[in-house]
C-alpha cells in the first residue's frame, strides 16, 4: 500500500486503563488493553482484526474514534492515530475531544451488540436522522428523503421508519446501525464484531450488504471479529492480536492459508469449517487461560500457552518483523526456524 493511499496510520498505540486502589485512591496498576500496536488502513481497504475475547480489539476501535475518555476519563493513551483527510493530517490520539467535532462525521463505528446500540426510545427515522441534524444543514423534507434513501440502501422498507428498535430482529437492527453510520458519508467505518450476535444465515446477508456498500461509497473498514473465516472472506489484510499486541499481520489469504505465529495457527485450527487446503495440518489446542492484561507475562505475552516456547521467550518483547512480502510476524523462534 503506497503512502499516498493511506487513510489512517496507527503508530505505536498504547491504551492503558489505570486501576486505583488503597485509601488515597492511588494508581496501583494498569490494564494494558492495547500495548504498542501499529498498522495502517488504506483508502477503500478492509482490514480484518481477530483475536480472543479481551485482547483489546474493541479498545483499538474506540481509540480510533476517540471516545474512550467518555467511559474511562482516566485512560492513558499514547502513540499516534494519524488520519489523512483531504490534505490535512489529524492525530486522533492527541486531539482534544472538543476539537473532534468537524472530523466526527468521517469515522463511524458499528457496534457489537445490536440491542444496545440503538436508543430504545427513538424511532428508526429519528435514529438515522440524528447524525444528519448534527452534520448536515438540511430542510426537514430533504432529511426525510435522505432517511428514505438510506433505508433503501440497507434493505429496509420506508414504512418501517416510524417503528421503534424493539420491533426489529437483530439483523434488521444491525442494518439500522449501518444506515446511521452511512448518513454522514464517512470514510472509515469501524465494524466491531457487527455480525457476532446474529444467526449464521443472517450474518452472510449483512456481510454481503457491507461489501456492496463498500464498493458503492468507497468505504474503508476495520473489521473486528473472532471468526477468521468471516474475516478472510471480507478483508484485504488481517491483523491477529493477542493481549494488546499484534502477533501477526499480512495479506488476508497469506495469513489465512500460511499462518506462521503459533497463536494464529491455534486460532486457525480452531475454525470449525472443514477447509481442504488445511486438511493435513495438525490441530493445535491451546493450554491454559489467557493471562490478564493487568499482569502480562514478561517477554512474549503468549509464552505461557505457546506449544513451542523457549526459555529466551521470557526475555525481550518480540517485535513485529516482516518475513517478506508484507507478512509480519512477532515470533523470533518461528522466523529462525525458516
Amino acid at each position: 500500500m503506497s503512502q499516498h493511499n493511506t487513510l489512517v496510520d496507527v503508530k505505536n498505540l498504547h491504551v492503558h486503563f489505570p486501576v486505583f486502589g488503597g485509601v488515597f485512591s492511588k494508581k496501583v496498576a494498569s490494564v494494558k488493553a492495547v500495548d504498542g500496536v501499529s498498522f495502517s488502513i488504506g483508502k477503500n481497504e478492509t482490514v480484518g482484526m481477530v483475536g480472543e475475547s479481551g485482547c483489546g480489539k474493541t479498545t483499538v476501535g474506540r481509540a480510533m474514534i476517540n471516545i474512550l475518555y467518555h467511559v474511562a476519563p482516566d485512560v492513558e493513551i499514547s502513540g499516534n492515530i494519524n488520519y489523512r483527510f483531504e490534505n490535512s493530517i489529524v492525530d486522533f490520539a492527541s486531539l482534544h475531544p472538543k476539537k473532534m467535532q468537524q472530523y466526527r462525521s468521517k469515522v463511524q463505528m458499528i457496534f457489537q451488540d445490536p440491542y444496545a446500540s440503538l436508543n430504545p426510545r427513538m424511532t428508526v427515522a429519528q435514529i438515522i436522522s440524528e447524525p444528519l441534524q448534527i452534520h448536515k444543514n438540511m430542510s426537514s423534507k430533504d432529511m426525510e428523503d435522505r432517511v428514505a434513501w438510506l433505508l433503501d440502501k440497507v434493505g429496509l422498507r420506508l414504512e418501517q421508519a416510524k417503528r421503534f428498535p424493539h420491533e426489529f430482529s437483530g439483523g434488521q437492527r444491525q442494518r439500522i446501525g449501518i444506515a446511521r453510520t452511512l448518513a454522514t458519508n464517512p470514510e472509515l467505518i469501524i465494524c466491531d464484531e457487527p455480525v457476532s450476535a446474529l444467526d449464521v444465515s443472517i450474518q452472510a446477508q449483512v456481510i454481503n450488504l457491507m461489501m456492496d456498500l463498500q464498493d458503492e461509497f468507497n468505504l474503508s473498514y476495520l473489521f473486528i471479529a473472532h471468526d477468521l473465516s468471516v474475516v478472510e472472506h471480507i478483508s484485504d489484510k488481517i491483523i491477529v492480536m493477542y493481549l494488546g499486541n499484534i502477533v501477526e499481520m499480512g495479506d488476508s489469504s497469506e495469513v489465512y492459508h500460511h499462518p506462521r505465529h503459533p497463536y494464529s495457527r491455534s486460532l486457525l485450527s480452531a475454525v470449525p469449517l472443514p477447509d481442504p487446503t488445511r486438511k493435513n495440518k495438525t490441530r493445535v489446542v491451546l493450554q491454559g487461560d489467557i493471562p490478564t492484561p493487568m499482569n502480562k507475562p514478561s517477554g512474549c505475552a503468549f509464552r505461557t500457552r505457546c506449544p513451542i516456547a523457549k526459555p529466551e521467550c521470557a526475555g525481550d518483547i518480540p517485535s513485529l518483523v516482516d518475513t517478506g512480502s508484507e507478512h509480519w510476524v512477532a515470533c523470533p523462534v518461528v522466523r529462525e526456524a525458516n
Binding site: 471516545i67 446500540s117 430504545p120 426510545r121 424511532t123 447524525p131 416510524k162 424493539h166
Partner: protein, 358 residues
C-alpha cells in the same frame, strides 16, 4: 412472519401506559385520586362558611369565589350587610335572619356551610359535637368541623407530598445525573457530601430546625428536601452511570452529539424507569412525613388543617371516636390508593414483560 404494515407502532411509554390501564385497581385509584385532588382545589366552593353568592341591596358579592383567587379580598365585615356582629359577616346567621324576616336580600351558602377554621368563638359551634346531619363527622376540641378539616387536609397533604417529591426529583436528577455522567472529581466530591449528609440524624435536625424557625408549608418542604434528596441522587447517579456506557450513547458521541443532547435526549429518557416506579412510594413517604411532624407538633402551624394534628388531638380524646376514626380512615384510604397506583406502575414498568426492550 406476517406482514404487519398496518400495525401501529407504539413507543415504550405508550405500551406501558396501556399496560397500566389494564391494571384496574391501580388505574381506578389513579383516576379517582386525580379527580379528587383536582376538585380539592375548588373546596372553598363546596365547603366554606362564606356564602357563594350574596345579593344585598341589589349588589352581588361572591365571598367564597374570592377565596379561590389569591390576592382578591374575600373578607366582608358584618356591617357591610347590616349585620350586628364583630368582625367578619356570619353568613349562616345572615341567611337565617333574612329568611325569617322576609328580606329582599338573599344569599346562597356552599353545599357544606362550615369552614375548617371556625371554632367555638363562632356562635352555635360546640366542642366535641358527635357526628350528626349538620356536622357529618362531628366537631373537635375547639369546635371546628372535622369533615371540613379532613377535606382541606387532603389537599394540603397531597400538595405537600407532590411538591416535596417533585423538588427532590429535580435535585436528584440534576445532581445525581451529573455525578453519573461526568464522573471524576465532581462525582467524588458529591459522594463524600452524600455520605456525610446521610450520617446526620435527620429526624433531630428536622425537629430542631422546625422548633427554631417558624414552620410553614415552604419551610417544611425545604427541610424535608434536605433529608430526602440523597436517596434519589444515588438512584439517578447509578442509572446515569450504567446508561452512559451503553453503545447507543457511544454512537451518539461518535457522531459528535453535544453533552446536553446526550443527557436529555438519550440518557434521561432511558433512566427514568426506576424513578417513575419510585414516584408513588415517594408521595406516600411525603404524606407520612407530614403526618408524623404534625402529630409531634413540629409541622404546619395551627390552625392549618392537617391529618397529623387531628390524629394527635384525637388520641388525646380517645373516647370521642370520630376524632380518631376520621383522620385515620382518610389517611389509610389515601395511602392505600397511592400504593395501588404504585403497584400498578411497577407492574407496567416491569422490564421482564418487555425484556427485549432493555
Amino acid at each position: 412472519m406476517a406482514d404487519n404494515n398496518n400495525q401501529i407502532s407504539l413507543s415504550i411509554f405508550k405500551k406501558r401506559w396501556l399496560k397500566f390501564k389494564t391494571m384496574k385497581r391501580g388505574y381506578y385509584s389513579f383516576v379517582i385520586l386525580l379527580w379528587m385532588y383536582g376538585l380539592s382545589f375548588l373546596l372553598p366552593l363546596f365547603i366554606n362558611n362564606r356564602a357563594l353568592i350574596v345579593n344585598f341591596e341589589d349588589t352581588y358579592y361572591f365571598p367564597a369565589v374570592a377565596d379561590l383567587i389569591p390576592g382578591v379580598n374575600a373578607y366582608y365585615a358584618g356591617e357591610e350587610f347590616n349585620q350586628d356582629v364583630p368582625g367578619e359577616a356570619k353568613y349562616r346567621l345572615l341567611k337565617e335572619d333574612w329568611e325569617t324576616s322576609d328580606s329582599e336580600n338573599w344569599l346562597i351558602m356552599p353545599f357544606y356551610p362550615f369552614s375548617p377554621y371556625e371554632d367555638i368563638t363562632t356562635k352555635g359551634n360546640k366542642m366535641y359535637d358527635p357526628p350528626s346531619s349538620t356536622h357529618w363527622l362531628g366537631t373537635d376540641d375547639t369546635g371546628r368541623d372535622v369533615f371540613a378539616r379532613l377535606c382541606y387536609a387532603f389537599n394540603i397533604s397531597i400538595s405537600f407530598a407532590l411538591v416535596l417529591t417533585v423538588l427532590n426529583y429535580v435535585i436528584g436528577v440534576s445532581i445525581g445525573g451529573a455525578m453519573g455522567y461526568f464522573g471524576g472529581i465532581f462525582d467524588l466530591f458529591f459522594q463524600r457530601i452524600l455520605e456525610i449528609w446521610s450520617s446526620l440524624p435527620m429526624l433531630f435536625v428536622v425537629i430542631i430546625m422546625s422548633s427554631i424557625l417558624k414552620p410553614s408549608f415552604l419551610l417544611l418542604i425545604f427541610i424535608y428536601t434536605l433529608v430526602n434528596w440523597i436517596m434519589l441522587t444515588y438512584l439517578m447517579r447509578a442509572e446515569f452511570y450504567r446508561e452512559k456506557t451503553k453503545d447507543y450513547v457511544s454512537a451518539a458521541l461518535s457522531m459528535g452529539q453535544t453533552n446536553s443532547k446526550i443527557i436529555f435526549k438519550h440518557i434521561l429518557p432511558n433512566s427514568l424507569v426506576p424513578v417513575i416506579t419510585y414516584f408513588p412510594f415517594s408521595v406516600v413517604g411525603g404524606i407520612m412525613a407530614l403526618v408524623g411532624l404534625d402529630y409531634l407538633g413540629f409541622g404546619l402551624p395551627p390552625p392549618t388543617p392537617s391529618w397529623g394534628q387531628m390524629l394527635g388531638v384525637g388520641l388525646q380524646n380517645i373516647t370521642k371516636w370520630w376524632m380518631v376514626f376520621s383522620p385515620v380512615t382518610a389517611e389509610f384510604l389515601t395511602l392505600l390508593s397511592i400504593v395501588f397506583i404504585g403497584e400498578a406502575v411497577r407492574e407496567a414498568f416491569d422490564p421482564k414483560v418487555y425484556s427485549r426492550l432493555r
